[in-house]
Symmetry: C2
């Protein structure tokens, strides 16, 4: 993409309303624009990151055997009355009346609706187990939206739902999602720790929040330091196999959010030098809630013995839009964002230091075309901005690699390549740079 | 995908509420489920088609130089008051109040919001031209939603917006979108005719609707038969080049919707044997509206001469979710849907006629694995449904190719391949079938 044709509205000033670094950097880097309190437009650069995060989540859900569908954003109030959640949910639910005065709501989550769908079609144990998921915009009418996309009102969430005949089966589904989550965050360059957690308005008996340690986190978290070094299951993990050793490994070390924290147990299980007490950002949560929705909604499954009983359910959320902010919280410096390669909006930023100089233009055009032909996403700064402005812009938007081309270097047959994460700079020939991106 | 693991709730009965064939087939094939009047969940099979349609639209927008972003579904009422559209829009706009009694609405379109975004960042002619687009769910509170996704309330739309300094530039942007639209529909296997049309609530001076001829269409349309045979610009079209010959070719033959139809002109310009008077389904519309939004919202551009004036705008919509229904209206038979390959949810349906028979299972497993390794999407019916049920199901869901494997054929080293569109059947070796899908 040529920057002269792109839409990248960089802000020079630090926006006053931004209290945390990810919000500030997303505004400055032209990734988002606030359209109402807690409601954002994703500008082109931000949208590219959102898509990459979404795609990683999708791939790992599919790998774990979950099936994607898409439920609508608006739901009937009557559906939520079946489970008693319509009245229970409180002012965070956005309630709507249509032109015929029918009561709707903007879905904050989809347990009720997916149960309605499942109930309509599935009645036999032979069709189980199933895990269904969607990635859809949701709305939670926060009293005080803040921190940009970290605590917005309209937000993109992946929510999966599992359907099993019995508790044993439900545990297997829970374990699949648990493992998929470990992989999702790892692929985004994040260290997310599964921690025992409250079940809140979703309900149920068992829950883990996936937490990123960060000073700007919304809650206190407690864990054993060794949990940070546990191995992440690789892409060949057999989701139909026995995942319990992985789960056991991850859940045997102490890790809990403040809501369920047990100080005495923490201290007895964790040597002092291993104790971590920090703030954490929640980037996902998994729940096992059994019959909480299937029983009131009478979604009954006939078992092998011919008897009917409500399915055993679980739900599994990943905050897709929130993750974009969380990744920045975990990966930035004074100069700007440092994108992990897997979620970077472009892999390479190419800076032409003397637009209009024939040799420089030709070298840049060659690099741009050859990298694009290799499938490398390049943002080519072909504007007449001064070099200092181009450097600052590239550091701010945080693309993993910067390729800097100017007449001086070219006279010696060299261009400069800078790795954003380390700051390392190398002078290389064009051929050597291309070689770096040839797999 | 193994059908035993998939979620494909086929309906045996024709749903009574479905008045048109696409609605009936989408319900029967387990593609959608109604969650409220005009509000649908996209079940896995339907969602796959929706994604393919969306991706074709995205690729052609990108090819034409448009830049993708994503605006939120909810908008501030005050934004629409700036252009006077809040009061003008009428009961089809879903108006919402949040917990603080702030007035919001569920966006039916985004001219106002994109102008607000553009106005905030762009003030110089040097940043023009620009075409920005997004693909987002929208809501139109239809008095009487019907025809399934063809006239739903919550619907997925691609809407693009162009920004130019003057009318001449705006025409160039209009032409780019016009050509991109021709390519979009063609890639989906549709013959869509651009017809002169009313501008309606979007406003403006110039508009074309892209129309598919179908008896179930919502309005009468009139055109010269020769327009059906005009060539579609290929993928090497230079969008920075002169597109006016293409536009001229497409607009010089008579083609108009009933709202702007001029019977006298139609008859004078079109020989009797060339006159088509049919019903049409609108699958997209392009508008040039000049200063309609930029002037009241004061989105001013400084030109090369230093003077400020409102930008010249246009907007360009494609009904993404509606297209799924429209494609079925255009491509089905008595037995079910006939998907054009580019939008098919899977390319191949593989029917195992004797699950449990070792040789048949092994042959199916081999075909399934080899095709998947080639990147061919296969839906493998490994259920214990009887053969007749499997044939009917495959015809109903309309995958382009059916591969039918049973013990009898295998004894002779043959499997059957059926092409859904033609009904042609061939007996082939496994190797020959694989060869067909090897590019």
């Amino acid at each position: 993409m040529r920057l002269s044709r792109y839409f990248l509205p960089i802000l020079r000033e630090n926006p006053k309303e931004a209290e945390i670094v990810s919000h500030r950097l997303m505004l400055r880097a032209g990734m988002i624009r606030q359209e109402a309190a807690g409601i954002y437009a994703w500008l082109p650069l931000g949208f590219r990151v959102l898509q990459k995060v979404e795609q990683i989540v999708r791939e790992e859900m599919d790998r774990a055997g979950a099936i994607e569908l898409l439920m609508p954003t608006l739901q009937l109030a009557d559906l939520w009355r079946e489970t008693g959640r319509y009245d229970a949910y409180g002012p965070e639910m956005l309630r709507i009346k249509d032109r015929h005065e029918r009561e709707l709501l903007y879905g904050p989550t989809n347990e009720d609706m997916i149960t309605e769908i499942f109930r309509a079609y599935v009645r036999s144990y032979r069709d189980l187990p199933k895990i269904l998921y969607h990635i859809q915009w949701k709305f939670r009418d926060e009293q005080r939206p803040r921190f940009g996309v970290m605590r917005g009102r309209e937000f993109l969430m992946k929510d999966a739902y599992s359907f099993d005949l019995d508790e044993e089966g439900a545990r297997l589904s829970y374990n699949k999602m648990f493992v998929a989550y470990l992989r999702i965050y790892k692929r985004m360059g994040l260290t997310a720790i599964p921690m025992r957690a409250e079940t809140g308005p979703i309900g149920g008996d068992l829950s883990h929040e996936f937490i990123i340690l960060a000073d700007t986190g919304e809650s206190a978290v407690f864990c054993n330091k060794d949990v940070l070094d546990l191995p992440i299951p690789d892409e060949h993990t057999d989701y139909d196999g026995d995942l319990s050793p992985i789960i056991k490994q991850w859940t045997s070390l102490y890790a809990a959010t403040e809501d369920v924290h047990d100080a005495a147990r923490f201290e007895s299980e964790t040597p002092p030098e291993k104790r971590i007490e920090r703030r954490g950002i929640e980037v996902g949560q998994v729940f096992y809630f059994g019959e909480k929705y299937s029983k009131p909604m009478r979604s009954l499954i006939t078992g092998p013995d011919g008897s009917e009983k409500p399915f055993q359910g679980g739900s599994y959320g990943v905050g897709v839009s929130r993750l974009v902010g969380a990744i920045i919280e975990a990966s930035h410096d004074e100069a700007g964002i440092i994108w992990p390669e897997a979620v970077a909006p472009f892999t390479v930023g190419l800076a032409n230091l003397k637009v209009g100089d024939a040799a420089t233009d030709a070298a840049c055009a060659e690099i741009y075309e050859r990298l694009e032909a290799l499938g490398v996403d390049v943002l080519y700064d072909d504007t007449d901005d001064r070099p200092g402005g181009k450097f600052a812009k590239l550091d701010l938007i945080g693309l993993p690699y910067q390729i800097i081309v100017g007449p001086k270097g070219l006279a010696e047959g060299k261009i400069e390549m800078k790795t954003r994460a380390t700051g390392a700079r190398e002078n290389l020939s064009i051929a050597a740079v291309i070689e770096r991106f040839t797999t």
